[in-house]
Symmetry: C2
Subunit: 232 residues, 2 copies
Amino acid sequence: MTTSESKKAVVLTSGGLDSAVTAALAMAEGHECHCLIFDYGQRHRIEIERAQQIATALNAASSHVLDINLTKISQSALTTSMPVPKGHSIDDIGQGIPSTYVPARNTIFLSIALGWAESLGASSIFFGANVLDYAGYPDCRPEFVTAFNTMAQLGTKQGVEGSPITVHAPLLKLTKAEIIVKGIALGVPFGLTHSCYDPSPHGTPCGACDSCLLRQKGFQDAGISDPALEDH
Amino acid sequence: MTTSESKKAVVLTSGGLDSAVTAALAMAEGHECHCLIFDYGQRHRIEIERAQQIATALNAASSHVLDINLTKISQSALTTSMPVPKGHSIDDIGQGIPSTYVPARNTIFLSIALGWAESLGASSIFFGANVLDYAGYPDCRPEFVTAFNTMAQLGTKQGVEGSPITVHAPLLKLTKAEIIVKGIALGVPFGLTHSCYDPSPHGTPCGACDSCLLRQKGFQDAGISDPALEDH
């Protein structure tokens, strides 16, 4: 692998705040970033368009929207007509696994990123998971990322040949406020990011799902007003 | 989880010989089998149709063809116009990783199977990998399967709650001949199975790719004539 290839990275890009900051961080570290975006049948489809806009705004080397319709094989409030839970107390978020959990979603996304990374000759995958104020998802935890990396090393040609592809989750232990402060310093276009699980058809956030509540608290704790509420 | 749910299984079904025997084995063990078939842009597309026919012939509880177009993000002789290697000596197969390796393919397929299994409340995934006469693929090895299971336990709700989903690869250490003998005993419709990586537009096997050569040797060693060569 050449030096240039070793700085290639695939970035899971959801259109949300965490993955936008993750992409900006990867670029600030000198990676040539290839943004992988999924159209998986999510009800908050606006995030797909936003993810593409974010990749462009951050000058990603490329972006790709992969269609993978999980609606017929996945039971989740994000992929079916099950209601999205709303109105939780902020302290209750992260207690237990909510109905917005999409079975094995991050495993699926990281696996596809792994395949693309290997085809590109990239050595890194960047993943915006974060555990401190996460909404109870098992596949956003450090032990999951570590286990994924072990599996990825054994299951790929690059891994077997001594150049494993590694998943980096630089936001894993940061609070939402810390992520926002970091993003502001990196010039992340937060006005383009979308967090809500259950937006209006025009993309207006509901303001009451767990993802909206975590976002609101993050901006509040960071002492910054949310540009997405002004811009859109 | 009820007793009935615990016997549900997702079976990766490729249309090939190994996965057909694996599905038949899972059924013989009393599993309610849900066959997962991938349309991933493979050049040997006939295997998709054969996989559906096999699922029906074996009386699977359900089957689902998932579209996931890997051609734009995957470098492999199976997904691009790269030539499929042919005419190897049988003893050379399995030495090194061939150009028919699709980056992270089995990781991707198993991850999607994991999501479906969790949505079904299944406890098992059946996977027809086999290592003894495999064509050098890193993601067909026992250590990969073990690492996948560890990752799956940590990354799913069922795993975290104490009912992990486990990948079973019952053919892992069998020779092709042993797999064929087992399949005959189980009534596997080998005439429907397709192994060739580079068939004619009508589905006729090339007879010279690694997959054809391994199949020919398997039937020869088992002392059985290949019904697929008679039926199709």
